[in-house]
Symmetry: C2
Subunit: 301 residues, 2 copies
C-alpha cells in the first residue's frame, strides 16, 4: 500500500496547509479518502494520475472533508472521463452533488454512482479480488465514518530453487502459480506448497477522522498495520475535545496502543499550532511507532 | 478603484492557474466577484483582509465561478464573523449553499443574506453612498450576469489656496467640505465652488464573464472606464465559441471598441494555451488599450 497525504490540517485551507484528503494506492488501484477544497490541485501538484481514481470515500460532510468533491467531479467531466466513479459518503451527499451539477447544467457524461451511508454499525461497502473496505463508525458532531482497507491475501510466489531441485520445466510455472500440485515423470506428486513461498501478509490501513476519543473503535482496528487517527489538539487544548468531538495526540496514541496497531499516523492538526512536532512528542509517551502526516508526505507499507 | 485578479483561467483549477475570482476595492469597501474553488486561499496568499468582504457577486453557477463559495462562507464562520454577508447570484444559489451548510450542521453564526437573481434585464442590485451595482445580462449556456460597478460622484475637495486668499479661518473648513458657502466678516458671500476643487470623476468597472459575443451588452457598458471581458479562445479556436457560448480575444476587443470603453482587461483563458500573450496581440488589432489579467495582478484606476 502507498499512502499519499494530500492534506491533513483541520478547518480552513491556507496557502501552505490543506484540508483532509489522502490517496491510497493498493495494487495499482487508487482510492481517494476525503476531498477537502483544493484536493484536485493537490493531486496535480503531486503528479498523481487521478483519472485512475474510481472510488472516493467521504468520512463526513464538514466542508474541510468534502468541499473539493464537486470540483473534482466536474474536472473528471471536462477531462472526458467515461468510466464510472463510485462515491461513498453520508446520506445527503447525492442530493448536494446532484443539485450543484443541475444548477450548473453540467451533469457528468460518465456514470456517477453514489453509495450513501447511514448505518451506525460497521458495514462492508466494497469488496473485490484486491481489497475490502469496511466503514468504521466514528464519534463526531455529525454522522461520520472512518474506513478500513484490507488487502485480500496475496498469491503464493514461485520458489525457483525448489523447482530446480525437482527438475520441473518452466512450462509448469504458470500451473504452479495457479496453486496446482505437480506430478513428476516418476509419478510422484509435489504439493504446491513445496514449490511456492508464503506470500507477503496482506496489509491493512484504517483511516479514523474526525472523531472524539472512543474505545468503541478498538476492536475493529485491532492489529491493523497502519492507523491514521486524527489529532486535532495538543494536551494544552484537551478541554476543547468534548465540545468539538475531536481528539488529542495523546488520545490517538491511546487508541493505537489499545488496538495494538503496527504504526500510528497523526493528522488533522488544528491550524492554531505553529509546529506539528509536539504532536509526535505527546503521542510517543504512550505509543512508540508514531509518524506525523504532512501535506505531500508518502507512506509505503 | 483597485482590482485584484485572484483567478482568471477557465475550467479546471491547476497548480498555478486559478478559476475566476476578483476582489474589487472601492473606497475601502471590498467586493468579491465570483468565487472559484481555492478563492479563499488566493485571498490569503495575496494578504487581502477578506473579513472586509461584505458583498459577493456570483455571475453564474458553473463550478469554476462558485465552487469556492461554500468554503469561504464556512471559513468566515470559523473566523468568528458577526456582520452580515450579502451574496448575489442566480436563483438556486441559496438552496445549494443552505443544503451544504445543513448537511454539515454548520450554519453560519452571522447573517447570510441571499439576493437571488432571475431577471433577463439589467437591474440595480446594490446602491449606497459609495457605489451602485447593476447586473449585465450575459449570453451563456446557463443564466449568467456580469456586474457594473459605478462609483457615486465624489465630494468636492478643499481649495486651500482659495481659502488663504479670502482669509478664511480653518474652523470653517468642515463647513466648506460639507458644501456650504461662506459669509465673510465684510458681509460678502464666497460661493462654495470658489473654495473647492472639482472632485475626480467617478469611476466605473464592468465585469463580463462568461459570455458569447453579444452586442446587446454594448449600450449598458458604454464608456465605462474599465471593462473585463472574457476571452476564452484565440481566433484559431473561434469555431468553439458558438457551442460553448464563450468569446475570442478579438470579439472581446470588438465589444470594447463599440462601447468606447477606456481600457479592456482580458481573462478567462482556456487552459489549453501555453501562453496568454497571443490574447493581447489578437485583441490589439481591434482595440488599443488592452491589458491581460493574470492571477495575482492588480489594476488601479
Amino acid at each position: 500500500m502507498k499512502l499519499t497525504i494530500l492534506g491533513c490540517y483541520s478547518a480552513t485551507p491556507r496557502a501552505f496547509t490543506h484540508p483532509t484528503a489522502q490517496l491510497l494506492e493498493i495494487k495499482n488501484h487508487f482510492f481517494l479518502i476525503d476531498c477537502g477544497e483544493g484536493t484536485q490541485v493537490q493531486l496535480r501538484k503531486h503528479k498523481l494520475k487521478f483519472s485512475r481514481i474510481n472510488h472516493i470515500f467521504i468520512s463526513h460532510l464538514h466542508g474541510d472533508h468534502f468541499f473539493g468533491l464537486p470540483g473534482l467531479i466536474s474536472t473528471f467531466r471536462l477531462l472526458g472521463r467515461e468510466k464510472g466513479l463510485h462515491v461513498y459518503g453520508p446520506k445527503g451527499i447525492k442530493e448536494s452533488i446532484t443539485l450543484l451539477l443541475k444548477l450548473g447544467d453540467s451533469w457528468t457524461n460518465y456514470p456517477l454512482i453514489f453509495h450513501e451511508l447511514s448505518s451506525n454499525t460497521a458495514e462492508m461497502i466494497l469488496e473485490n479480488d484486491k481489497v475490502s473496505v469496511t466503514t468504521i463508525p466514528l464519534d463526531h458532531r455529525v454522522y461520520a465514518n472512518g474506513f478500513l482497507f484490507r488487502e485480500k491475501p496475496n498469491e503464493r510466489t514461485l520458489n525457483v530453487a525448489a523447482t530446480t531441485k525437482h527438475g520441473i520445466d518452466k512450462s509448469q510455472f504458470s500451473n504452479i502459480k495457479k496453486g496446482k500440485d505437480i506430478i513428476l515423470e516418476d509419478g510422484n506428486t509435489i504439493p504446491n506448497e513445496d514449490l511456492t513461498l508464503d506470500p507477503p501478509p496482506p496489509k491493512s490501513y484504517a483511516f479514523c477522522s474526525d472523531t472524539a476519543y472512543n474505545e468503541r473503535l478498538v476492536p475493529q482496528i485491532s492489529e491493523v498495520d497502519v492507523l491514521y487517527h486524527e489529532a486535532t489538539f495538543l494536551e494544552s487544548e484537551a478541554h476543547l475535545c468534548k465540545k468539538t468531538k475531536h481528539s488529542t495526540a495523546k488520545q490517538a496514541a491511546q487508541i493505537a496502543k489499545k488496538a495494538k496497531v503496527g504504526q500510528l499516523i497523526l493528522g488533522h492538526y488544528s491550524t492554531r499550532y505553529k509546529s506539528i512536532e509536539p504532536f509526535g512528542e505527546e503521542a510517543e509517551h504512550i505509543f512508540k511507532n508514531v509518524e506525523l502526516a504532512d501535506d505531500g508526505k508518502c507512506f509505503e507499507f
